[in-house]
């Protein structure tokens, strides 16, 4: 059960935005009643913040608090890179199917939890929607096309 509390804290750290109690419960794999208990403990420890909108409670990681700066939440962590490459692996496995599907061919797709969650011909609109609907999470965005493109950043620089 303590794992669920850690999962909730990491989930809120990655989202970095106000999140409904029910969404935290779903991400942590426990009931709403249980997660409220954990979130209250985290609130008491100064790790998260709460605000109420009507009858609903929303939570987020406390800005500048100890959790935001802790090493477990280091954004350069290998866990973040592992997530990115897992989503990329999922994209590469489904690429042939996406290319054959007129809904996705030559469009940008967003992959989250190994599934296509959204697609658009406008990359910025897609990313804007993904972050609005799913929070600030590790996601894989790629244009569906046959050949991958190699970008050039060729400028050599002299060390002074």
């Amino acid at each position: 059960m303590k794992d669920a509390k850690d999962i909730a804290l990491k989930f809120l750290a990655r989202k970095m935005d106000w999140t409904l109690t029910s969404d935290v419960a779903r991400a942590s794999g426990v009931t709403r009643v249980t997660i409220v208990q954990y979130l209250r403990e985290l609130l008491g420890q100064g790790l998260v913040e709460r605000r109420r909108i009507g009858r609903a409670a929303m939570w987020r990681i406390k800005r500048g608090g100890p959790a935001q700066n802790s090493t477990v939440l280091n954004i350069a962590s290998s866990e973040v890179m592992r997530q990115l490459h897992a989503e990329r692996g999922a994209y590469l496995r489904m690429k042939a199917r996406l290319l054959a599907d007129p809904r996705y061919d030559e469009k940008f797709v967003a992959i989250l939890n190994a599934e296509v969650i959204d697609a658009d011909s406008d990359e910025r609109e897609l990313v804007r929607r993904v972050y609005a609907n799913h929070g600030y999470v590790v996601v894989y965005v790629e244009k569906v096309r046959g050949e991958s493109r190699i970008l050039e950043v060729p400028s050599p620089e002299r060390k002074r």
């Binding site: 972050y131 600030y136 894989y140 970008l151 060729p154």
Partner: protein
């Protein structure tokens, strides 16, 4: 009109003021960016990633001057170039102290380089 940077680059290089921010938290870093018309994509210093708490959202294959190709994480950021704003620009990072402005951003601006007077003009057509 902006002066080329004579201190960090040899020969002097055209630079612009940039502010790069996290699109969600709006945490921001300010610094100089070298104008690099040879670069297909813009680059931020690796040290900014942690300070802006950026999360990767893609992988780009990038070729350097010697032809070596590496796969590197990409990040969506908001960018301001001499106060011209761009939202959700896909950028990469590298171990450098200043940013690079590639053609992904430069092609949206009117940039005039005057090597004789070592000055640069940036405007939005």
């Amino acid at each position: 009109m902006i002066r080329y940077d004579l201190t960090e680059f040899e020969p002097p290089a055209p630079v612009a003021d940039v502010e790069v921010s996290n699109p969600i938290t709006h945490a921001a870093e300010k610094g100089k960016a070298k104008i690099d018309t040879g670069a297909d994509v813009s680059v931020i210093p690796e040290a900014w990633l942690a300070r802006l708490r950026l999360l990767p959202a893609g992988v780009l294959e990038v070729s350097s001057f010697d032809g070596r190709v590496v796969e590197t994480p990409a990040y969506y950021v908001n960018v301001s170039v001499n106060s011209f704003r761009f939202e959700l620009v896909k950028m990469i990072s590298s171990q450098r102290t200043n940013a690079l402005l590639g053609r992904d951003l430069l092609n949206s601006l009117n940039v005039t380089l005057d090597g004789k007077t070592l000055t640069i003009r940036v405007s939005d057509p």
